[in-house]
């Protein structure tokens, strides 16, 4: 029971991170119907920028943790968003209206480019990050096994929920959110009605990248290591989360993310650590085969 609870906490933490990345996939897919394959790389860049920001702050002598955290969060979000914006501008916008696989192939190229860009300029070695937030709560103790919820895990879960709430209200209640929903329904009609579609798409990428940046920062803090290759697997897993929840749906992405986090945590807790990535791929395949619309997605009618 205690072990189960511990895996539940670990899974929730992991799932929050996947959920944040998954939102980027699901929003882009909802609006322009492409898989932004480079999104995992954006998350990896977020992780790198956060570790660099921490180092710079450390050199500047800012060691008060909440302040450092806030500054790093904002700078990471700003710089990573710029990456998200540039990727869309350079690799996807010229391809709008091209044949349907072109953006995906361009995205794969972008992903390879970004991975190697970081590898060349930051090195292939794993980057360590000293633990910043220590300590935690002991929730339950039974039979010599203590269930712990660290403050960091608490922070990750809380921050994710705050961001999700803010984000959902942004989509539901602001003019930008309305424009995004309009573009997701019908881009051409939206543009006829005076919506600047290019701007909406750009902002969608910016928002997705900002959330991926938060996920990158959290992973840096949580695992304490970052390397240039983390984007690939995290990207595939987050995409699986988006598909599992129902691609195009924001609550679905979050739900899918948490489910994927839980599946991964329980799989490695009870079966085998080596095959934990296989578990996620199997879930992806099963969902796509048996329920391609995901848990809360609407069926997609193909127009001729």
């Amino acid at each position: 029971m205690a072990y189960f609870l511990q895996q539940l906490i670990n899974g929730l933490t992991l799932g929050s991170i996947y959920g944040l990345i998954a939102i980027g996939y699901t929003m882009v897919y909802g609006i322009i119907g492409m898989i932004n394959f480079a999104h995992g790389e954006i998350y990896m860049i977020g992780a790198f920028i956060s570790i660099i920001a921490f180092l710079v702050l450390g050199l500047a002598g800012i060691t008060y943790v909440p302040l450092a955290l806030a500054v790093v969060l904002l700078t990471t979000m700003a710089f990573t968003s710029l990456y998200g914006w540039t990727v869309e501008r350079v690799a996807y916008r010229p391809l709008r209206g091209s044949f349907r696989l072109a953006p995906l192939i361009s995205a794969i190229g972008m992903s390879i480019f970004l991975q190697n860009y970081v590898q060349i300029f930051q090195g292939a070695r794993v980057k360590p990050m000293p633990p910043l937030i220590q300590g935690g709560l002991t929730i339950l103790e039974s039979g010599g096994f203590a269930v712990r919820l660290s403050y960091l895990q608490l922070l990750i879960i809380l921050l994710t929920f705050v961001l999700m709430a803010g984000f959902t209200s942004l989509i539901a209640a602001t003019p930008l959110g309305r424009a995004q929903r309009a573009c997701a329904q019908d881009m051409r009609v939206a543009s006829l009605l005076g919506i600047d579609v290019d701007r909406v798409i750009s902002l969608t990428f910016v928002m997705g990248a900002a959330l991926a940046a938060v996920a990158g920062l959290m992973v840096t803090l949580y695992y304490g290591v970052v390397d240039f290759f983390i984007g690939f697997l995290a990207g595939v897993k987050a995409f699986t989360a988006a598909v599992l929840g129902g691609i195009g749906s924001l609550p679905g992405a979050m739900l899918g993310g948490i489910l994927i986090g839980l599946i991964e945590a329980f799989w490695s807790g009870y079966f085998s650590v080596e095959y934990k990535d296989v578990s996620v791929f199997v879930v992806l395949i099963l969902v796509l085969v048996f329920r391609p619309t995901g848990l809360v997605g609407r069926p997609d009618v193909e127009k001729v």
Binding site: F79, A91, L101, G109, G123, R125, V236, F281, V289
Partner: protein, 443 residues
């Protein structure tokens, strides 16, 4: 005088360049580039020991990068201004070149094959060059195999390397446990890979293009993770070694053969040279690649091949015409997988050693890039792209570090500028009415 007046006319017809917005645009691009590069290029983290990081600043690199972006952006914006000023709206030179290549396909192909066959005997040829040629040909064969799936049937497969791995491991295991030789194992490699293609393809082929891509990627990763972790069968990360080399109709390529085996050089009365085997391997893969190509070219003219291409163009219309999309897609998947498996078998015998490291996603992406950069569905384009991608990094070792960076950028650039690939010229396989009319309708 004439030249002067010509210039004057030119001056009058061309509107003056809008320098101010152009410069502003380029400056903006440079500022964005500088901001992008600032954290990741300008501040370089490095180990200072004890699990801590230090930071080295390289702001000069950031400045150079921004300057390069400024110049590049300006040039990019200026280029169309000059082009429209000088010429009419004819097709770009590269399009005309590829159209010409498309019309002259037969002589170019024959010349290419002749050159490939003569390569080992040319005066400047060396062991290194033949080795490189063998590697290029492996990728050509993989590209042609994947072209069946991606180019003809229009199914984006991001896990093609899985079949390559299955073929290689089939031979590796057969050789290790059952003492199979290369030629005995070759058909099994193809068969096992094709079965895997059907097995993996069956549940997922109902999916739309990009979903299919992600699922195939998942399959590729699953195969690699299983190969890595099923150590009792596959040797795990240590892989399988001591895979036998192919023989020439039972003649071994060795300095001295064991009892009862004749070696190649003894049989033909030649001086022993290790080059014989290298040249032989080169010809084996050349033959295998050409068979792949011939097979693809012929099957395009069969109902099955036509169904592939029809399905690529419009799946809904195909359903309406009574084509069963699942079976047609499955056949493309299985045949593509078979060629991947055969290439994998050759890879195993050439390396003599296989491990999961050779079958990562990046390999799938490379093969896909070869197909896409070459122009999907174009057999000649695959050759061109394979030669470019495989041999380019060989020419400069300093270049090697940037190889994958350039590779990724090239994938994006080709998609942006020539979404149909380098050799985008595609002749329709069937015509309605006369050939000339069809050519006019579909330029």
């Amino acid at each position: 005088m004439a030249a002067a007046s010509g210039l004057a006319v030119d001056e009058r017809t061309r509107p003056p360049l809008p320098w101010a917005p152009l410069l502003k645009d380029a400056l903006l691009a440079a500022v964005i580039a500088a901001l992008l590069a600032l954290p990741l290029v300008g501040l370089q983290t490095y180990d200072i020991g004890g699990g801590a990081l230090g930071i080295a600043t390289h702001f000069d690199w950031v400045a150079w990068g921004a300057a390069a972006v400024f110049a590049g952006r300006l040039a990019l914006r200026l280029l169309p201004q000059f082009r429209t000023g000088r010429r009419g709206t004819g097709p770009a030179p590269i399009s005309r070149l590829t159209a010409w290549a498309g019309r002259q396909a037969v002589p170019i192909t024959l010349a290419g094959i002749a050159l490939a066959a003569a390569l080992p005997f040319l005066p400047f040829s060396s062991r290194y060059l033949i080795d490189l040629g063998t590697t290029v040909l492996i990728y050509v064969m993989l590209g042609w195999g994947l072209n069946v799936v991606v180019g003809l049937a229009g199914l984006l497969d991001l896990g093609y390397v899985a079949f390559y791995a299955v073929g290689a491991y089939t031979f590796g295991l057969l050789a290790r446990d059952l003492d199979f030789s290369f030629w005995e194992a070759l058909p099994f490699s193809g068969l096992v890979a094709a079965s895997f293609g059907i097995l993996l393809g069956f549940p997922v082929l109902r999916l739309r293009g990009d979903y299919l891509a992600i699922v195939t990627l998942g399959f590729g990763e699953i195969i690699r993770i299983v190969l890595l972790n099923w150590a009792s069968l596959t040797g795990g990360p240590n892989g399988i070694g001591g895979i036998p080399r192919p023989s020439f109709f039972g003649l071994a390529f060795a300095r001295s053969a064991p009892e009862g085996v004749t070696t190649f050089h003894q049989f033909f009365g030649l001086e022993f040279s290790p080059d014989h085997r290298v040249i032989f391997l080169y010809f084996v893969i050349l033959g295998m690649a050409l068979i792949t190509n011939l097979f693809t070219l012929r099957i395009r003219k069969l109902p099955l091949g036509r169904a592939w291409e029809a399905l690529r163009e419009d799946e809904t219309a195909c359903r309406a015409l009574g084509i069963n999309p699942t079976n047609v897609k499955l056949s493309a998947f299985a045949i593509g997988a078979m060629f991947g498996g055969l290439a994998g078998c050759f890879f195993a015998t050439r390396q003599g050693f296989i491990s999961p490291e050779s079958f990562t996603f990046i390999e799938s992406a490379t093969i896909l890039a070869i197909v896409v950069l070459g122009g999907m569905g174009s057999q000649m384009g695959v050759v061109l792209a394979a030669i470019l991608l495989v041999s380019l990094p060989e020419f400069g070792r300093a270049f090697a570090e940037f190889r994958m960076l350039i590779f990724g950028a090239a994938m994006v650039a080709v998609m942006v500028w020539r979404p149909r690939g380098l050799i985008a010229h595609r002749e329709p396989t069937v015509w309605l009415g006369t050939r000339r009319r069809a050519a006019r309708i579909a330029p």
